[in-house]
């Protein structure tokens, strides 16, 4: 596991058009640690999670980085809350901020046949 990699836990605030960093998960020796953690995410990250076979519950902090990152991808995969793929600091969009504005696109002007 490349120790420079990390995973971001991101909340999509669709109605406001924002993406909010809730926590960063990064390798910490043989385990992982949470940094830049929003208070609202603490309880969520401490809940037991199912293993890949769905059989047993484990805690993220007990897992090695590779297994933890895979568990994050599997566990946080929703439309409102998700884990990014592992990436390095230099390509991280949350490098220097905790909130990103979603990109806005104007609708194409209606054609004459639509009017």
């Amino acid at each position: 596991m490349d120790s420079a990699l990390h995973v971001d836990i991101v909340r999509n605030e669709w109605s406001a058009g924002l993406q909010i960093l809730l926590a960063r998960v990064e390798p910490n020796g043989e385990h992982v640690r949470f940094t830049r953690t929003d208070p609202s995410a603490v309880e969520l990250l401490q809940r037991p999670i199912l293993q890949a076979d769905g059989s047993q519950s484990v805690h993220l902090l007990d897992l090695g980085p590779t297994v933890a990152f895979e568990a994050l991808r599997r566990t946080f995969d929703g439309s409102y809350l998700f884990a990014t793929d592992p990436h390095t600091e230099d390509v991280c969009q949350f490098r220097d901020r905790d909130v990103i504005t979603m990109r806005r696109f104007p609708s194409p002007a209606p054609s004459a046949s639509d009017i």
Partner: protein, 235 residues
């Protein structure tokens, strides 16, 4: 005969898109190019396009079918209105069929189950069992509307909102997984719930479900409903 959701559904299916917006960081779920769209009239929807993936259209249909299932059960309060329509994706610039779902603001993602109403958990378990949901095992895919119901002890509880139903209805290579099913497994279902399931069995054949799901998947939903009525609990 149109039901009481018809006008909103019709609006969502036909209203002009004023603008759309897309996450800068993508991820999560089976629709990688999801985006938001604000419709003329001011309603903003969350759009999950089918895209080009072979399973994309099936996932779009599943999202709408989940909403239709909740409507048939009389539990549409457990989600927001969801329709199928075409959009021009701002991400791919191509026209695609998509599921469009009304957005809620000020929601909590995956609140603790203990903060939810017990009756909501029972209804969600029944619903997830019926649709063979394979994507509610993690910490996401349900929301709570913050503190809607104040109780006499000044505690407040979340009203449950269920989201993300692409991986359901016996989706290939997926095993059913639902924290709500796990929570209620083996417990007797109340008559109020069984009555709704009975009504579902009666109404479903003339609903949009057979067309959305195909006859095989639809048949499996009805079989599970009949199983529930027979054993009166979730196994």
């Amino acid at each position: 005969m149109p039901d009481d959701h018809y006008l909103l559904e019709h609006y969502l299916e036909t209203a002009t898109v004023l603008w759309s917006f897309a996450p800068s960081v993508q991820g999560g779920g089976g629709h990688p190019d999801k985006f938001g769209a604000t419709l003329a009239g001011g309603i903003t929807v969350f759009v999950k396009p089918a895209g080009t993936a072979p399973e994309g259209t099936r996932m779009v249909h599943n999202e709408v079918a989940a909403y239709e299932t909740l409507k048939l059960l009389g539990w549409s309060d457990l989600t927001t209105t969801t329709v199928r329509r075409y959009f021009v994706s701002p991400i791919t610039n191509s026209t695609t069929v998509a599921a469009a779902q009304v957005l809620l603001s000020d929601v909590e993602v995956a609140p603790s189950i203990t903060s939810l109403q017990a009756s909501d958990v029972t209804r969600a378990a029944t619903f997830d069992y019926l649709i063979a949901n394979s994507d509610r095992g993690g910490q996401t895919n349900y929301l709570g509307t913050k503190g809607v119901y104040a109780t006499s002890t000044t505690q407040s509880v979340n009203h449950l909102i269920l989201i993300d139903h692409g991986y359901a209805f016996d989706f290939p290579n997926q095993q059913p997984q639902s924290i709500f099913v796990n929570e209620r497994k083996g417990q007797p279902l109340p008559n109020s719930v069984l009555e709704r399931v009975e009504l579902f069995v009666l109404l479903a054949p003339s609903s949009p479900l057979p067309e959305l799901l195909g006859l095989d998947s639809f048949g499996m939903v009805v079989e599970r409903a009949k199983d529930l009525l027979s054993i009166r609990r979730i196994e």
